[in-house]
């Protein structure tokens, strides 16, 4: 009986304090409505308002079939309902429209399905609708739908007094076979002491004798017994515990969504029936594919009937620590739904260790399904794409991939399809993050799968996308190289990857893929720098990429050296910020170290790889250009790559134009030169920067630059230029060591 008391709790207290509560909630409600009205006035031309007006004014008997106006308006209202919810007034209008069957029964169900309140539901509207039930034209299924709706939004009804006033009227529907369970539930919520009457008890008992001890009847009777024990002599089984069965209602998820978005002022109560609903509904939600399945152990154990049944299995659910995992490594049972593992590190560690193919495949099926349904097929939840859930889901996926240090094949397959439809801005950081986890793509496919869609996006997007994409490509390259280096550590370099992988990927195939990627990034960078006017932010991302590229041989053991294209080299060399020039110098220095070491290895070992002459030639050319330009003040000389017509240069009226990109006059370093000049010759009125070029001040100037943190420049100078302090103004010429 105690349980019964408890159960009756919420509605009981509701009843006792009904008068004051309803008064206060009404006044709140009134002010809400006033605000609503104000807002509405401001946008009277709103098509949504027009739509509502249509539904409130439409004549009975207007045909539905072929009526585009009603369709248009209906869609409008539905859109608002699912996104923001309907205001109390709108609820009244729509409910009245639907229940009155002004335009037939088919629309009624549709209207009911979209009645998602934004704040509260006016009681009058519900009462009017209940009255329509009595008219008896409604099909039974629609009647059920309506009562279910009332049950769902019961807590949002602004007052209950009038509903209680028509208790008897509602009670009369109890005899209706299909409505009975729902009517009982509604009555249960409305019952007060004065509602309990002998004739009602009698009716219920009569029904019970006809239908058997149906739980809904028992519940209502038990409540009656609480109020008037003397009227109900029936013994209620003590085992009966909680509320009415849930109705898997259509509205719950949409309602929660709307309330979440609106920052919900009216919380749903903790009515027992509702809490149960919450759980089941999550399964039913149509648009939310992104929910992780619950972690549960395998139910269907008979199906397995392993021979080694003596071995007791430990479900993953019961694991709580890493130590426990280690102890039970041999007898762990994977969960029934692998998707539940995403985001929990302990099981993932286990999964990574056992490499159970079926388990991985199950995880991939689920993940691929979720991604496809949410972002590609978008059956009915297209608008929800940008939702918080999608963001969180992708972040979780990213952190899982980060944790496993590899991408899932299903997310890879998804990305290739998604790139074709992506606008480049939706969830950009997440998508680019996933993209950078893509494993090595065979060079024959890489163009179609990655480069074509990315190129289109690149040229049509903002600079921030361009920067993001360069970063993504850099990360992708880093991951590929890391995989390679891990692999190369285990085996000899020249064994083709083929022996361990099923895909026909040899070392040369891998090299081809990397080559393609680097070339692609080079092309993008060249054009991107032009399009963005050599923006230093973008340049910095490009140089990041080349910092990875220049060290491929030494850091990752990949016998491949690719030089940057001129479109990257020259903009970096002539950049207006010293950092870029310094980084370029560092990159050239690393190229040199890599090439030297590759060359010496080539001489030493038999299994040498071949670096083409072309690469050396390119490298030497760049070095010569850089030294000539920064050091020897010989910009724009014939054969330097950057050439301008003589007349054009003369026309420009730049005196000594050939010096304009040396370390003193370079736009990036000019300010340092000026600063240095002032420190060196304080008080000198006319500044002659050329005076720095003399041997002594020159070396001081270099020293000064190096102390400013330009280490790249320092390494570049030290490794490429041999120059003696003593030798007059003879700054050493560059000789690179790789002349072949």
């Amino acid at each position: 009986m105690a349980a019964q008391q408890n159960l009756a709790g919420p509605s009981d207290s509701d009843t006792s304090s009904v008068s004051d509560q309803s008064v206060s909630s009404r006044s709140v409600n009134r002010s809400l409505r006033v605000a609503e009205k104000e807002r509405r006035k401001n946008k009277a031309g709103d098509p949504y308002v027009v739509a509502l007006k249509y539904f409130s004014d439409v004549e009975a008997g207007t045909p539905v079939y072929g009526n585009d106006e009603v369709e248009k308006n209906m869609v409008l209202v539905e859109k608002v309902a699912y996104s923001k919810g309907l205001s109390p007034e709108a609820i009244s209008v729509m409910l009245e429209f639907g229940m009155s069957l002004r335009m037939g029964t088919s629309l009624c169900a549709r209207v009911l399905k979209c009645l998602i309140p934004a704040s509260v539901v006016p009681q009058e509207a519900v009462v009017r609708a209940v009255v329509w039930l009595g008219v008896g034209k409604l099909p039974i299924s629609t009647q059920v739908l309506f009562i279910k709706w009332v049950l769902t939004i019961f807590d949002l009804i602004d007052a209950k007094d009038q509903l209680r006033a028509i208790y008897g009227f509602i009670f009369s529907f109890v005899t209706e076979e299909n409505l009975c369970p729902f009517i009982c539930h509604l009555l249960y919520l409305l019952t007060r002491k004065e509602s309990v009457r002998v004739f009602r008890v009698r009716k219920l008992l009569e029904l019970q004798s006809k239908l058997g001890r149906q739980p809904f009847l028992l519940h209502l009777l038990s409540l009656y017994k609480v109020f008037c024990p003397e009227l109900v002599t029936l013994s209620i089984p003590s085992r009966m515990k909680s509320g009415f069965r849930n109705h898997n209602s259509t509205w719950k998820s949409a309602l929660i969504g709307v309330q979440k978005r609106n920052g919900s002022q009216v919380a749903l109560s903790n009515n027992p029936a509702f809490t149960i609903k919450d759980k089941t509904n999550s399964r039913k939600r149509k648009h939310y594919h992104l929910e992780l399945p619950a972690l549960s152990s395998v139910v269907n154990k008979e199906a397995q009937t392993e021979p080694s049944s003596s071995r007791k299995l430990l479900p993953l659910v019961q694991l709580h620590s890493f130590a426990q995992l280690l102890e039970n490594m041999h007898r762990i049972e994977l969960p029934a739904q692998m998707g539940s593992l995403l985001g929990s590190s302990l099981p993932l560690q286990y999964l990574d260790f056992v490499q159970d193919e079926s388990a991985l495949l199950r995880l991939n099926f689920w993940l691929g399904y979720a991604l496809h349904e949410e972002f590609l097929f978008c059956g009915d939840g297209g608008a929800l794409q940008t939702s918080e859930e999608a963001l969180q889901f992708l972040n979780k996926l990213l952190s899982t991939q980060h944790f496993l240090q590899e991408g899932f094949s299903s997310s890879e397959a998804f990305l290739y399809k998604f790139l074709a439809v992506w606008d480049g801005s939706l969830l950009r950081p997440q998508i680019l993050g996933l993209l950078s986890n893509v494993p090595v793509v065979p060079s024959s496919q890489i163009g179609r799968l990655l480069f074509e869609p990315l190129m289109q996006l690149f040229f049509t997007s903002s600079m921030f996308f361009k920067c993001g994409l360069m970063e993504c490509l850099n990360n992708m390259l880093l991951k590929w190289l890391t995989w390679h280096s891990v692999y190369a550590l285990e085996d000899d370099l020249d064994i083709s990857l083929n022996s361990h992988t099923s895909i026909n990927m040899t070392l040369s195939g891998f090299k081809d893929s990397v080559m393609e990627l680097v070339d692609f990034a080079g092309r993008l960078s060249s054009v991107g720098l032009q399009l963005e006017g050599c923006h230093s932010l973008f340049l910095s991302f490009v140089l990041d990429f080349y910092e990875t590229v220049c060290d491929m041989f030494l850091k990752y053991g990949l016998p491949l050296v690719v030089m940057p294209p001129p479109g990257v080299f020259y903009p970096a060399m002539c950049a207006t910020d010293p950092v870029s020039v310094d980084r370029l110098a560092y990159i050239m220095y690393r190229y040199k170290v890599n090439l030297t070491s590759a060359k010496s290895q080539e001489k030493l070992t038999e299994q040498a790889f071949h670096i083409s002459r072309e690469t050396f030639r390119e490298f030497n050319h760049y070095i010569v250009v850089m030294v000539n330009c920064l050091w020897n003040s010989k910009m724009f000389q014939p054969g330097m790559g950057v050439q301008l017509g003589e007349e054009l240069l003369l026309k420009s009226n730049v005196p000594q134009y050939w010096t304009s990109f040396d370390l003193i006059h370079h736009p990036a370093f000019m300010s340092y030169a000026v600063d240095f000049h002032q420190k060196c010759w304080p008080g000198t009125k006319d500044m002659d920067l050329n005076s720095i070029k003399h041997s002594k001040p020159w070396s001081w100037y270099l020293e000064y630059l190096f102390t400013q943190g330009y280490d790249g420049l320092k390494q570049f100078v030290q490794s490429n230029i041999s120059w003696q302090l003593t030798a007059g103004d003879g700054r050493g010429d560059s000789r690179s060591t790789q002349q072949t």
Partner: protein, 367 residues
């Protein structure tokens, strides 16, 4: 050793075998799972994208009535089904159907009475679930046997002696599934990609969630695309000589504001003549040589048939249907809607239609 093995089995379909054998070191596996991730599934679909067949066999009348239980067949034929695709079922056993029946009925009962501590298999309100194999509903050797699920229940206010009524039915099938794909799945998986259901939606939801929880598979809606519908138009029309199609009815939607819906009905004989006129040479070859056994239909023929229908419509109504999309097709052999509802009225040509639908479902597979 390893190298030897892999070199013997480098073809994509066999890649699985290789993978199983080279499980020596976990590190390698993980490296593989990046590299060969796709290849494990008959070369990743992304790499060699599964495509819609551009040519298929002309529907031959199958004597399916000989092979399949008449009662089951009658059920499959008389109902309009809502289609879904299903990812492969993990550890589904055709031998365990009895136990599945019990489990699913318990599951449904539990769902229905959620929050009530009433015994699950009580006399009233209880549902009875039966799983059965539809014997003979397979075409290729790789196809898993079709599974039929039926739910019976007593109406709420029924008398004690009233028999239970069938309230819901559904079936999982795979007809002529892409063999490469099917081969690429490990043995633990059963691929029945096409799920057809009919009955109250809440029961469908419960059944789906039971499958999800027990076989780690996932259901998504399967719509019958514009192209598939056009295929059906052609495939069904092609049957006309053997079994009259009565009428060829198509519903087109044109994207104008307000949306325009056009119902286009063609006389069966006219449709057949038009279809014969766009058919290419093989027919003549057939007469001449009789060597060409497989009468196949090409996508180009389908397209020119549809084009001819469209231009006929244009001549009369000055409306170009190319701007819109085909939404619904129906003939006496069956009807199909874009929303993924299909009714197959004639069991003779069932296999052809199901082959097409299986293909659609497999195209929806995430990997």
């Amino acid at each position: 050793m390893e190298r030897h093995e892999s070199s013997t089995a480098r073809t994509p379909t066999n890649s699985l075998v290789v993978k199983r054998r080279t499980k020596s070191r976990s590190y390698r596996q993980s490296y593989q799972s990046c590299f060969g991730a796709g290849s494990r599934l008959g070369l990743t679909p992304a790499l060699t994208a599964r495509r819609f067949n551009t040519s298929r066999r002309a529907p031959k009348s199958h004597n399916i009535t000989d092979k399949v239980n008449a009662e089951q067949l009658a059920l499959l034929v008389k109902t309009e089904w809502q289609l879904s695709y299903v990812t492969p079922l993990y550890r589904f056993r055709h031998t365990q159907l009895k136990s599945y029946s019990r489990q699913l009925s318990a599951f449904i009962a539990a769902e229905k009475q959620q929050g009530l501590a009433v015994e699950v298999e009580g006399p009233q309100g209880g549902v009875r679930v039966s799983f059965s194999v539809v014997q003979g509903m397979v075409e290729a050797v790789d196809d898993a046997e079709t599974v039929l699920i039926q739910i019976h229940s007593k109406p709420l206010f029924a008398r004690q002696d009233e028999p239970q009524k069938s309230v819901w039915s559904g079936w999982l099938t795979c007809i002529n599934g892409n063999p490469d794909y099917l081969h690429s799945l490990p043995e633990d998986f059963v691929c029945l990609p096409l799920f057809c259901s009919s009955g109250p939606e809440n029961l469908t939801t419960v059944v789906k969630s039971w499958f999800q929880q027990n076989f780690d598979c996932y259901f998504g809606p399967l719509e019958i695309s514009h192209t598939s519908l056009q295929w059906l138009v052609a495939l069904w029309t092609n049957c006309h000589t053997e079994s009259s199609i009565q009428h060829l009815k198509m519903i087109w939607t044109l994207p104008v504001a307000p949306p325009l819906q056009i119902t286009y009905t063609v006389n069966p004989q006219d449709a057949w003549e038009l279809w014969s006129s766009v058919r290419k040479a093989p027919q003549e070859e057939n007469k001449a040589g009789k060597e060409v056994e497989e009468d196949s239909i090409d996508i180009e023929e389908v397209m020119s048939f549809i084009q001819a229908l469209k231009s006929h419509f244009y001549r009369h109504f000055r409306l170009d249907l190319s701007a819109g999309s085909l939404n619904q097709v129906s003939t006496a052999l069956g009807s199909a809607k874009y929303s993924g509802r299909i009714k197959i009225s004639n069991s003779k040509y069932m296999i052809t239609t199901l082959t097409l639908l299986t293909e659609c479902a497999l195209l929806k597979m995430p990997i």
